[in-house]
Symmetry: C3
């Protein structure tokens, strides 16, 4: 893909200063950009790079004052960051998610329907009686089991596996290696110490605008649904167990695990590698710091939790600050004990 500076300025309703015929074939940060790259300046802190950048062109504000000579062509717009973001989105669609049509061989079972303007990659599999919306992009080797429902504009990357009866909303992004709807981990102990498998016949429901990162796993409910609410963002390698509910616009960072039947509120942030116990609930706007383990429900909104087991962040930071000096604490204690004893001896 290659455009001239002039063509890009036209799309952005911008004004060119410099050589509008230069060719642009990629986007880059202003401090790393080289010939052929288009960059942007949105933060005054980065202005010095404007005079040294190797970029062929830079998007700047209409009001940007130049304090030194600039070699790059400039595209002047109202809001450089928004313009650059629009280009990023255009670029991503053009290069990655814009493919349409069916690559053979692709499998679609009896009774399944898919809307207009879709892509079904080679070796992708759609089971029976699925209802799939329009503008849906299904990459190669993805699997969608029987009776699934998928909303408009959702993207399913290569090799994601979606078990039967899963419901996915509109404009969701499901990355490669995601497994949605595998059996919840439910086993009934038997008198001889072995386990009988408890059948898991529920499903998983993702509402609209949910994003699920590579190799994350979301188990189906035992009965009913595991539920990921609107706008939630799930990172790579996250584990979400059976019958969990994740609230609206909650963010779950990589390698976090949430145990069965737990309910996470809206607008929460769970940092990386945290663990949340089963059968509890976290209030809205709860933040849990990295590697923490939460074992109890919370009711107050907006609290910050840290540690394993976790308690409130401020107390946790204080306790950790002293933890490092435990050897010193022990020495001070010994000194006191010795002082006390010395007089007794005397």
């Amino acid at each position: 893909m290659e455009f001239t500076v002039g063509q890009i300025a036209e799309v952005l309703h911008g004004e060119v200063e410099g050589d509008a015929s230069q060719r642009i074939d990629r986007l880059a940060k202003i401090e790393e950009a080289q010939a052929g790259a288009l960059s942007f300046l949105a933060n005054a802190k980065y202005e010095p790079h404007l005079y040294t950048t190797g970029a062929s062109a830079v998007i700047v504000s209409r009001t940007q004052v130049l304090h030194k000579p600039v070699t790059a062509a400039l595209i002047r717009v109202d809001d450089p960051y928004t313009s650059f973001s629009a280009l990023l989105e255009f670029y991503q669609q053009a290069t990655r998610t814009g493919r349409r049509g069916v690559e053979e061989p692709a499998f679609m079972g009896a009774g399944s329907e898919i809307g207009d303007n879709h892509y079904r990659g080679a070796f992708s599999y759609i089971g029976e009686n699925c209802r799939i919306g329009r503008d849906v992009v299904i990459f190669p080797q993805a699997y969608i089991g029987d009776r699934c429902v998928i909303g408009d504009g959702t993207i399913i990357y290569a090799g994601a596996k979606i078990y039967a009866e899963t419901v996915i909303g509109a404009r969701c992004t499901i990355h490669s290696g995601v497994i949605i709807g595998a059996d919840g981990f439910g086993f009934a102990p038997q008198p001889d110490g072995s386990y009988r498998t408890i059948p898991q016949i529920g499903n998983v429901v993702l509402e609209d605008n949910v994003s699920v990162g590579a190799n994350a796993t979301i188990d189906c409910a035992t009965l009913g649904s595991t539920l990921i609410r609107e706008g939630a963002k799930i990172d790579n390698l996250v584990q979400i167990a059976h019958n969990v509910e994740i609230g609206r616009h909650t963010v779950v960072a990589a390698q976090t695990g949430i145990s069965g039947s737990t309910k996470i509120g809206d607008f929460c942030v769970l940092a990386g590698q945290t663990g949340i116990a089963g059968h509890i609930s976290l209030a809205n706007r709860t933040t849990v710091t990295a590697q923490s383990g939460v074992g109890k429900s919370t009711k107050t909104e907006g609290i910050l939790l840290q540690g394993s087991p976790a308690f409130n962040l401020r107390d946790s930071l204080r306790a950790n600050a002293i933890f490092r000096h435990l050897p010193e604490i022990e020495r001070r204690l010994s000194d006191l004990e010795n002082t006390k004893q010395t007089p007794e001896k005397s």
Copy 2:
């Protein structure tokens, strides 16, 4: 799938009270059930829901006394929980694992054999010289390398990857994204600080009735076998390194990692996100709590371990209880030191 209340009662050898012609199309919890659903009452605690449930029918004990009017039809049986479990198992098989035959294109290499009554989904791959039993279900896009052996009734979900020479017993369940038999992490440091790869030519052996959760990884042995014994249950995203042995009926919860050459006893429970060091062994019936890290072998059966590094649960709970109050401990210590000094000054 739709049945009448009368048909279900007949299968369960139960007696109907109420309208036996009502149609049932799903199973649900008594407190969530709506019209069309069949539920059950096994625990007296839930009895109040019997009088308010929206279910079309409820399975109850033959001896259940009614204290209020009930609108749902009742199916009276000897043991409601067992009857309901049987229905769950029937439902799961009917909707998910009951498919049979071969969907083309599917690949099977020279010299491989598979028993009767199997399913091989589209884009599934079986290498050369495999011996696969009867009633085996291989979902689309699953991969089975050369010279694998798989027992009767085992289910391999979509996209699971099984490297060459793996041996899997009967009635095992391998979920999507599971990787069995990838190289153990073995690298020999060289004088220049780089690493030479140590070839891993062993395999993985799963005995009967083993379950492996989505995206779990079980590495092959360097030489010999990584061994998962009968009835062990492995949850999602678990890592089992080369030459590990997991004992009979041991349960390993999500995101736990077990390092190379370690041996976990029978009937153990490793909770979520635990880590077990390499080259150690844990005695039978050991329990490790969530996020703990075990660095040393144990010999006594039945102990509970907590913490990172882990020690016995009771002591760990006590130490954690005081950890939170370290700032206060430090203050008390300072007070004593000050008190001691004050007299000296006087």
Copy 3:
């Protein structure tokens, strides 16, 4: 595969003592070997096994003195360990990675090229305009997106997924379930608490001799490249976020997570289940122990870190040693407080 002891000795330039016509069909440890197996003795500690082993043949040093009768045939060589390693490598190639040619159906998009002596397994997918070297092995169901570049001799196991524009060096090993190039976890918070997705249009670059374990995930950069330098070894289920850089010959053990824009130096060792915060850098030759969490940059080379939050290993071990005895510390403190009060009362 089956060879005679004599054939193997010839390849190793070794001398046979005993029956050179015996047939060998596998390699095994000397203490576990049975008839048909070839083993080796490199460490004097294992010499007693030489007189009891069930192996059909054992590779020993030319200078090995026998203190008892031996039933196995001996193959005498200069360096038994090196000879045995060479056999392991030969065996692995013969049994696992030696396949060549194309199994149909396999997909390769317009404009893509692949060098001589390659394997493309059934249901593997190569996008458009890829440049792939010679001796490359692509197992079934692997996915390679558009415009990828892959060096000579690289092995991509079944079902690995490589997003568009990834660059992979020569002699890399990518295990099953690995996801390279999925979107970095970047979301801009909006005034209403929801998140707007920040397009991730960078890529991932792996230099030569990199190994990536099963189900590991390496996200693409927002702009620019996520970079894994020469010889780095990444274990199973590791998470590497957008714009991270991993240094040369650095080892990252299983289930470790590295947050966005962090730079890990050369020759580092990150043990299992560690977490590294975003936007920091670790100096060369840093070691982080298992389950630790590093939140700050380090500048000194060669240090050892432990704990969550991590500090230097020696202090961490001391603090942990006292942590266990916190209940005792508290008791000693109470005793002192009581002693102090007692005199006051008297």
